[in-house]
């Protein structure tokens, strides 16, 4: 099944060496050292990300083509939107082949040498210290989590909803800055409801991925989130609305109605 998809991706990406790094229901993600159009030197270590949305056989082919194209474009558009908000770190868009469901982007993060060379997602970055309470609750981690929260706050001030805030979709860069990735479920919205749900998803994700320290981690994230709104009066009013809604969402869960 997976081999078939890789072959299909390869047929659209001839002469590009592909290495799978993640596969979800919607897309398969590759890395490569070959830039789509810039001459690359042989000993370059820079890697690029290719996100490929393969055709879904269970959908009508025409509908499938339209959906794939639209979702690919929506994600690329969001990357563009984030380029224009320089305070939010995000991977840059390199190339787009919407017809074939392919997005090329910059690779962010680095390999954690003290954690099996795994990618420096917030999840792995925190998990390194899971068995050591002293290390798991240091100032370094507090600062990083506040930065993460701050960045999410800035996204929300700009009405960008990530849609899938898990600790795997947040990258800690080598400079210990936060960077958001995977905008496959992202959209724009000014509604406190959507922002509240976004925060709730993050809260749940931290609780299930880092249960030992979730309470403290979430507290730091929220402190950063509030800072992300800045000191502007209008933003602070917005922040208050979101926090109020967030409390409501926490009480009732992610879905607004009990139907479906």
């Amino acid at each position: 099944m997976s081999d078939e998809l890789i072959q299909l991706a390869q047929s659209h990406l001839q002469n590009i060496p592909l290495q799978v790094i993640s596969q979800g229901a919607e897309a398969i993600v590759f890395t490569t050292k070959t830039h789509p159009y810039l001459p690359t030197s042989k000993d370059s270590h820079t890697e690029y990300i290719i996100k490929y949305r393969p055709p879904k056989k269970y959908r009508h082919p025409q509908l499938d083509a339209t959906l794939t194209k639209h979702r690919t474009i929506a994600e690329a558009r969001l990357l563009q939107r984030l380029t224009n908000i320089p305070e939010i770190q995000s991977p840059g868009l390199i190339a787009l082949d919407a017809r074939n469901g392919i997005i090329w982007m910059e690779k962010v993060g680095y390999e954690l040498i003290d954690y099996d060379d795994k990618i420096s997602s917030l999840k792995n970055w925190l998990w390194r210290y899971n068995d050591n309470q002293e290390k798991a609750l240091t100032e370094e981690i507090k600062i990083a989590l506040e930065k993460v929260g701050c960045m999410i706050g800035k996204a929300h001030v700009n009405d960008v909803i990530h849609g899938d805030l898990t600790s795997s979709n947040i990258i800690i860069t080598e400079a210990q800055e936060a960077c958001l990735i995977d905008f496959g479920l992202s959209y724009q919205s000014a509604l406190p409801e959507d922002k509240g749900v976004d925060l709730y998803v993050l809260d749940r994700a931290i609780l299930s991925t880092h249960p030992k320290y979730a309470e403290q981690y979430n507290e730091w994230l929220m402190a950063g989130y509030e800072r992300g709104y800045g000191k502007d009066k209008k933003s602070l009013i917005k922040l208050k609305e979101v926090l109020k809604r967030y409390e409501e969402v926490r009480l009732r869960g992610r879905k607004r109605s009990m139907l479906g």
Partner: protein, 185 residues
């Protein structure tokens, strides 16, 4: 001359940069009359500040070309069209194509097969053949024309090229690549 092979496609590119060009008017007239000898993309360097910007457009043009989706007459005009951020072909060809009074020129040639190279660039352009280099492009780029072509937010017209730092250039490049890749989407 810069020779570039885009890995995904069988075609390759040859790119030239000329200064002190004397015969822009002549080139333009021959190009407009559709002479076979002038089957190149003649680009106005006033709106080009990076090789990456050029190649990003070439990638998009070749992608559309190889899937039979080009909107202009040839791969060369498609490259110029793809440099722009608007869906208006005439508009992009005017802004990014050769200027009648221009004394600098970027010339691109798409080579289908290596053995098919059958032209001498000096027979077409009268000027000084230089290396295509980002520093040189940045030094001469025209922010007013860039702003008109890409409609950046915030506007570039209020910035001075001399004050631009490396981070400003790279942000500008990211914005430009976004616009090129997402045109018409």
């Amino acid at each position: 001359m810069l020779s570039v092979k885009i890995p995904q496609f069988q075609q390759s590119l040859q790119i030239y940069y000329f200064e002190n060009v004397e015969n822009s008017t002549e080139i333009r007239t021959k190009l407009l009359s559709g002479q076979d000898s002038h089957n190149f993309a003649f680009v106005n360097p006033d709106v080009i500040f990076s090789k990456e910007q050029l190649l990003s457009a070439c990638y998009r043009a070749l992608l559309d070309y190889n899937s039979g989706k080009i909107r202009t007459r040839s791969i060369h005009s498609e490259i110029i069209f793809c440099l722009g951020s608007s869906g208006n072909i005439v508009d992009s060809l005017t802004r990014f194509g050769i200027k009648e009074d221009g004394n600098r020129l970027i010339i691109l040639k798409v080579i289908e097969k290596e053995e098919d190279v059958e032209y001498t660039i000096d027979e077409i352009v009268k000027g000084d053949n230089k290396d295509l280099d980002d520093a040189l492009l940045r030094e001469n780029v025209d922010f007013k024309q860039m702003q008109k072509a890409y409609k950046f937010q915030p506007s570039l017209s209020n910035s001075a090229r001399e004050d631009f730092k490396e981070t400003d250039w790279s942000l500008l490049l990211r914005k430009t690549v976004d616009l090129i890749q997402l045109r018409g989407c």
